[in-house]
Symmetry: C2
Subunit: 334 residues, 2 copies
DNA sequence: GGCCTGATCTGCAACGATGTATTCCAGCAA
DNA sequence: TTGCTGGAATACATCGTTGCAGATCAGGCC
């Protein structure tokens, strides 16, 4: 079997507990003893059994990350950043794909998944704040600001409204007046879709341009969703001179379909997205979009969660921070 | 604190071990007792402590997945598939990003990461077979057939050679004769780069077309790598009428740069890739590529690894399977 | 010398589950 | 009645660590 602390202790001629103390950097250990223990560890090739440590200490040094699906580029890139940030602080990340199913999200919040982690980073898509508060246990939980907003929960937010307004304002400044929105339903007011739609409306209003519900097309936030949506819009005969995809893959799907249909981008129709995934820079034409502060979100969320876990900071004060966004103007909407 | 088996046992008026037996579906339990225990579990909201179970049983029900970076689309999509396949069999996946660093890969093979998992799925990029065998412990290990090939190791392979040959043959059949290759060095013979390059050479030879080392440009397997590489090629003045990016992002980076430079694709230059990431279908023009059997790879690798873990199948026989690939002809090289 | 202090190290219990061995008991054959 | 069988439940040890309380010992001070 594997080498245990007991073996190391025997080899070094000290007690098991002293080995434990050495490993945990206990202050009062004679240098000579420490050397002896470290030598024995080296010689035997001892590795701490993390499972046993977890059981005893009640900590797993793992953060849970709940998102819909890693095959969504924005989430994959965010997950990568989060894992690096966690790694740098001595934590690992266990990813759970909810597939955007409410039941699955709920089980991730309370089930055994929870017991494997010291805290959760959660990108809710189906559950609302009330359900989250209901389902969540006592362990630290930080929401990543996509859909849900609530004063009772720690979260790191995207400036959905402001960023969407900035994109829209940019399109308006270019002279576009009929800007289609893909990925929201006319009535939406909450969630990323609603918040971004409202940002869009606000920018229109600020520019004195009339809001036309016929330009708002709902779709799945996927490439094929964007392609379908723009196809429907084209077929409907409603006129438009720009497209704002509420995320990049929707915009890219739409861009593809526009080009297939022989539209010139940006000459006939400008296209803009939201997320600034790596792909946006290399699309043809490259995609104008908004960078929501992904690196900052990952960094802050991990930091906040770990502070909660380790009991740093003010425990009673709910922390809500917003990441800084920035517009990335590229060829699709120069 | 959390509810333990002991609490459940007390509530149900049975011994702790009986609760354990119920949970583990032990055969001989009176239905009435089982009911009582289940009721108590329900009432108290008991959840198995997986850490304790792991310590006692020596199994974590977690698979490790070591890859370079989740922000690489192919890996993200593969990881998503793998997680679903594992989930369906009652396992979770713990992802470790090696960042393509040998030291990091090595530590993932032997370090504490290993002790958290029952087995490892490994996509080696820096280590060779010898190093892997040296570093790997006794726990099950399945390589995902990207770079390394060795008769001593379990693995699920991509048909790098054949698939690359198929792509090349397709370009040749179109009448292309000067096909640039991006992502390999002229001398490469091993690894995905070498194997794919060899497939390319074989297809050229089969068609009686001369191999020109000047058309082989090495680069990082990233979008910007592909863009840089094609820029260098264009600047060098070497003539070419097609580009084979050894993976999709390289091809897409090249495609972007070609269009920026005013080349018409596919009229002036055809472009093909390798991987069939979702993005390939929606690029403009859409990217001709080869689907390496990603879903099958994920499924088989997980199945094989779990069989190893659970001791099914023939333990002495090294398992090596190849996934079926298929060419996806799209606009960039019709 | 006796006592106190603080550095250093040790022993034991405990985290929450499972494996093994054992007990208990009803049913049935002898 | 006795003995046996096998279903059903249990007791106890155990996985490898860490927390806690305590033991040991040298040095300083009265």
């Amino acid at each position: 079997m594997a080498v245990t602390m007991n073996d190391v202790a025997r080899a070094a001629g000290v007690s098991l507990k002293t080995v434990s103390n050495v490993i945990n950097n206990y202050e009062f250990i004679r240098p000579a003893t420490k050397q002896r223990v470290l030598a024995a560890i080296e010689e035997l090739g001892y590795e701490t059994n993390l499972t046993a440590r977890s059981l005893r200490s009640g900590k797993t040094s793992m953060l849970g990350l709940v998102l819909s699906d890693l095959s969504v580029p924005y989430y994959a890139e965010l997950a990568s950043d989060i894992m690096k940030a966690a790694w740098a602080r001595g934590y690992r990340v266990l990813v759970e794909q909810s597939g955007n199913a409410a039941a699955h999200e709920k089980s991730a919040l309370q089930g055994q998944f929870r017991s494997l982690t010291d805290g959760l980073l959660f990108i809710p898509l189906s559950l609302d704040a009330e359900q989250i508060i209901q389902a969540a246990g006592k362990k630290p939980l930080v929401l990543l600001g996509e859909f849900v907003q609530d004063p009772r929960l720690d979260m790191v937010l995207i400036q959905n409204h402001e960023a969407a307004a900035a994109v829209t304002a940019h399109l308006l400044a270019e002279g576009r007046r009929r800007i289609a929105v893909l990925g929201a339903h006319d009535g939406d007011t909450t969630g990323s879709n609603g918040l971004r739609l409202n940002g869009y409306k606000a920018a229109l209003a600020a520019a004195g341009v009339e809001y036309d519900p016929a330009l708002v097309i709902d779709c799945e936030w996927r490439r094929d969703g964007g392609a379908d949506a723009i196809a429907r819009l084209l077929d409907s005969g409603v006129g438009f001179d720009a497209v704002f995809g509420l995320n990049d893959v929707v915009a890219l799907g739409a861009l593809h379909e526009l080009l297939v249909r022989g539209k010139r981008v940006p000459d006939d129709i400008a296209v803009a997205g939201f997320d600034d995934i790596d792909e946006a820079r290399f699309a043809s034409p490259s995609l104008t979009t908004v960078e929501p502060g992904r690196a900052e979100i990952a960094e802050r969320a991990v930091e906040l969660l770990i502070n909660r876990i380790e009991g740093n900071g003010s425990p009673d004060k709910v922390e809500q921070t917003e990441a800084a966004f920035s517009l990335r103007v590229r060829q699709s909407a120069p």
